[in-house]
Assembly symmetry: D2
Homo-oligomer: 428 residues x 4
């Protein structure tokens, strides 16, 4: 039955996320910005370690593992509620937390029971600061990694005896290098497995080769230090405390049992991971729009800017508030629907991609509208909305950019002869 009311359980999830955000995320920016004075971009990330530990203690990592696998995780909608609450307060420090969720996703979706039991373990406790990372993107671009006729990822693995030898460069993967640059506790590395027997060179070769290998801190420690190198921590415009290093694997050896998705299966698992995440990026956009609206509304109801009335009395100001609010509400409704639709219908991912595009692009626009509304005071660092803008800017371009990845995914769905436009709404 169509309904928009949260269950008591969801109310509780939301309340605890809100409480966590209020307690731990509100002050996060002050902490990591202070750390920025030490040269070295990585210090901002590292300064969030205590906060991450709090998240672990509060069950925020465990909550990203399904209950069936030992976690506390609920539905994708539950996750979206948490994401909104966090992003309504603080984007950057939150992404470190959700990055672990994304990093675990391939394991959750495709791991064997043994793999799940072994590799999920560090993430089921309430202590420490375990990081996981989905290591997908490469410096030369990732949008076309399985495009017809494309060469495919530069990161490759070959089987030698009981080990895979991993080579290549990756960049941007959240949490990838870990707190100390010796690797996240768990990395799911997307690569091509080179099979000397596969001499065909068809347009689907890259897809056929794509696989996922697990790399743990222990694996890295067991190798020569040069086998895993952090080349740089590229400083970013926003989300400045996020770890997304440029790394190089040089003949890194991992046990054959670390093969999470074999050649030919990797692309699909990644696609599934990035479908769930799309809905969550929608929720990030909602959180940011919510913050922008709240701040602009509060401002409009209190500031007179030298006139005889508060600014909300001006229609131009009210019109901007309305524009922000409408997109926030529409994006939230769509995101919720997308979260519930996923997995229900053959092309259920469509709504998730749409929530991602709409939520992310609207978020940027809304923050910019809020800046125009507040005017020049919004240009101040700290009190202003500049940081929010800089955090928002990544939404359309990460998690698969809207131009190169997300729209292309929807396009492919539309092209499918089986596609029925309203199936996710009204059934087949």
């Amino acid at each position: 039955m169509v309904d928009f009311d949260l269950t008591p359980e969801q109310q509780a999830i939301r309340a605890s996320a809100k409480a966590f955000a209020a307690e731990h995320l509100t002050g996060a920016r002050a902490i990591y910005e202070a750390a920025a004075t030490t040269p070295g971009w990585e210090h901002q990330f590292r300064s969030t370690l205590p906060l991450y530990k709090n998240a672990v203690q509060a069950g925020m990592i465990k909550a990203q593992v399904p209950a069936g696998l030992g976690g506390l995780g609920g539905s994708l909608l539950d996750a979206a509620l948490v994401v909104e609450e966090f992003y309504a307060v603080e984007a950057s420090a939150s992404l470190t937390i959700f990055g672990t969720g994304l990093g675990l996703m391939p394991l959750i979706l495709a791991g064997s029971p043994e793999q799940q039991q072994k590799f999920l373990k560090p993430f089921l406790g309430s202590e420490g600061a375990p990081l996981a990372s989905l290591v997908f993107s490469e410096p030369d671009g990732s949008a076309n990694f399985i495009a017809a006729g494309a060469p495919g990822f530069g990161t490759t693995a070959t089987l030698q005896g009981a080990e895979y030898i991993l080579n290549g460069e990756k960049i941007w993967a959240t949490n990838c290098s870990g707190w100390d640059d010796r690797g996240a506790d768990l990395q799911c590395v997307v690569c091509r497995i080179l099979d000397p027997n596969d001499e065909a060179s068809d347009v689907d070769k890259a897809r056929r080769q794509t696989a996922i290998l697990i790399v743990t801190r222990e694996d890295i420690a067991a190798n020569d230090p040069a086998a895993f190198q952090v080349l740089s921590h590229p400083p970013t415009v926003g989300h400045t405390s996020v770890n997304g290093p440029h790394v190089r694997f040089s003949n890194l050896r991992v046990p054959a049992g670390n093969l999470l998705a074999p050649a030919g299966k990797g692309a699909e698992v990644i696609e599934m991971s990035f479908t769930a995440s799309a809905a969550l990026v929608g929720a990030m956009g909602v959180g940011i729009m919510r913050q922008a609206f709240e701040r602009a509304l509060e401002w409009s109801k209190t500031e007179t800017r030298g006139s005889h009335e508060v600014m909300i009395q001006k229609q131009s100001v009210a019109d901007l508030l309305i524009k922000i609010k409408i997109r926030c509400e529409a994006a939230r409704a769509l995101t919720w629907k997308a979260a519930l639709a996923l997995g229900k219908t053959p092309f259920g991912g469509e709504l998730a991609y749409e929530a991602k595009i709409f939520g992310s692009e609207s978020a940027v626009d809304c923050v910019m509208d809020a800046i125009n509304l507040i005017g020049v005071s919004a240009y101040k660092q700290g009190v202003g909305l500049g940081h929010l803008l800089n955090d928002a800017v990544v939404l359309p371009i990460f998690d698969g950019g809207n131009v190169g990845v997300r729209r292309r995914q929807i396009e492919k769905i539309f092209m499918n002869p089986q596609y029925k436009p309203w199936e996710a709404t009204f059934g087949p």
Copy 2:
């Protein structure tokens, strides 16, 4: 629990609306356009009489009266489902049907049990073609009818003995003049009741005077013919079969018992009527976007336009399809939420106004995008999308224009010190 699945009952409602639309609405335009050759704009309207009778028989009028009052009506969401199905096929002929629903709304919301029993009766059967009309708009504008310090509506009534004497001009009210220009079966006329004892001239006077009077065909018949005159049937750009005449009341006498909402209560009842309708206009927009998407998708998957591939293979075309689809999905999700939110929270109307604005403006944009996508063939009458554009254009400007009425309503809500932005979503 958050859910987007229709109940079996709603599936049935939707299925029967879809079936009705397929059977009766598909050919409607051909019928009323043929009637356009006879000079006189009213002939288009009149040519839809058989179709309207079908709607009565199929229970489509009764379905707009709540079950508790003898109808078959369900929730606002149920209504939105029907509206979408109809507008996905045909706008103009559908509006005549929904215009009766709007016309009954004040009676349903504010009528005394006696009034309801008496005046709803003609609309509870399965025969004939009873029309109701909410007669609100005036030639000189309606957006400010109760604005502080504004004169208020030009249509006024004075009590003389047991009768009200009604004077003034109205325009645009759907169904107002009835099939034969002698009046709809039921008109709810918004007017100011002039009270000779009220000599105050405060800024709220117009609001204090605003009332609603019922005028029936029988009332009109009991008066001199000149007491109710149709001055013109203004031809419109789209929705060309809709009856929205310019009429004049000249000393029309109606029984005092026809007073539906007394002075001081009228504005509120109208506001409530136009809040429910706002959500339904959202659904109209969804229907139109759905139609635009379906047609553009079909076109893109079959046309090659002289190239070696179907047009959906072109990213520029796909991008437009995606733009249309996203707004359609977002508008539907928002409309559904608005329909359910209404009446639940103090400012529940906000979402309905937002669904109206977003759905209506997106609909115009989407049809225009579909035209640009299809290119010059879309400019053909009939097969093209011109009619759809012309029908869509009214959505932002009727049912309270977005600029003068709808944004102003939201603005007022935002200004309220009690307003909590997310109450409709997360509760108080």
Copy 3:
């Protein structure tokens, strides 16, 4: 020296265009709409014959032929001034006049002196109603007529002795069928010349085959009546008095001397014709925006809509006026620059395409903004802005649709390694 002042000659051109528009175009719509009651779409077109004769007398046709070839024509900017003045008053009847200019363009650009002398003659006088037509578009699409690997136009010619035998279907060409459906005085028909000796089937074949043949009324009269047939006059959403028939050439024989552009040259000549026209469509958009602004401004300064002040006092209304005005001013400045840039630099067409895209899409948006501003009264036929919208809608999709043709042309320019983005502004 950068300057925006018209020369006295241009002032005069503008003044006479304005005067012509005031005298002859103001009432045009009333005339051709009255003619619409007679079944048969062509009657609207024919009702503009007297007006067209006036245009001939006033030198408006001659003005579209360069002075060097016996006409009165000036620069492309002069032409843009006239187009704006006309479109600020009336679109549809004006297009018939400018359609002749477009129809003459290939002859002006590519005709031999003999061809020019012979075929331009009817257009240099001050009597009669000579029509020319650029016959390019085909029912199955024209955007890809020389795309790599595409089959090319369906209309073909083969040389038999001293004659070309023409076969195929065309549609939409303004003025194509003439006042009496026996052909415009001059048609420049784009076709492929089939050469039995050319057996290659490279991706450029369609381009290599494309040519332009002249077809006159006399040529048609010299053939069997069935050789030139008007299949239909497709009714359009706007520009309702324009002649743009679906026609069929069936073994129509024309003298070999009618070959205007030989195989391999046709595409280039068409491209050049449609480059000049692009700047003029920019001017059409400016004219329409100007009209929309003037009407909305006037309305805003006089209407109170039941409130205590005129509507321009409302910021929401003023903001819409400003939005319209800005795009009108920006489009005009860009159009003027494009008109002057053409032919000056290697990629001078770029600005013309941009003026076309910006002017056309802005025009549609501006009319829609004006409708939203005026509200429901804008929905009335005649006094409303619906006709203006319907006329505007064609701007982005004709003269080469923006999605399939115009953006693709710019894209090609950008791809050129020689391209310098600011050469048209600052020189090489």
Copy 4:
């Protein structure tokens, strides 16, 4: 005669601006960002001192003073050319230079010959680093400083004998506190002069009181140090090397002869200053869009992102490039027209305000489009486009925000009964 070609003199101006930018501005960001590591926002500003000296030597300050007053200055269009060249390379360091031009504007427009001779002097040489500042904005808002019934600026002056006593707080004025926080060489301070004899309290009182006082470094030095205090250097999101401090005047005494615009004249002089500057902000927007386009084009023609072709081959990418280019071209054409129109017609400022709005809002959108096009690599600091975005963001909100100031100015023009919409284009 309408023309878009620069004169040889303008070509030279442009060439020298371009050369200066290439030599001195290209590396500016690296310099002032390095300075950011020292705590204290002002160090970024101070690190640009050598660059500013270069600008003085290169005549860039003198060029902002009219030739008639001893400078090298030319037309507003000449200035716009320089502004575009600078902003196409570097925004922040350029603004310091142009801020001096703005600071001198009131003196140029309204100073007595004696005042001009005396106070312009330091700005006519080729040595040192003289700064001027237009000190207008206040912490509590400036948009309504002369709005009907508004209190007016909080900064006030009273005449005591031969001196004015100045009190109040200002913020954001570029260059205001000078290189050493002891004041710019010249400040034009907008304030209200309190006249004990003026007891009227009409709605125009603030306007009647508004005046401009000159404050020099020497004036400040002649006072107690506490009379001019820098309260803070508010860090900003972009334009990070600009000096725009929060300052307080406490009984600062300046000679009566420093009165530049007397009470009742100040507002008009400010309005004129901010009209010329509006056109220049248009040019800033053009410069930023130009930079965004160049970088995105270059990227698109070289990057394959793992696919088999360069990105410009993708229509989605090309469409974004086109969108950016069109707005850049349209904004430039409009800005040039506005620069030439100023002062020619009664409402010539209209175009300048429109160029400001269009150029500034387009600039933000274009940079965001470029970011979406380039994708995640654009999020890198330095190589990315984040800084450009942050610099662009101020354009709509400074120099009079578009919402509170610029649209309101146009609105007022539209309301004027004498207003003729096309006078600036076609004459009266």
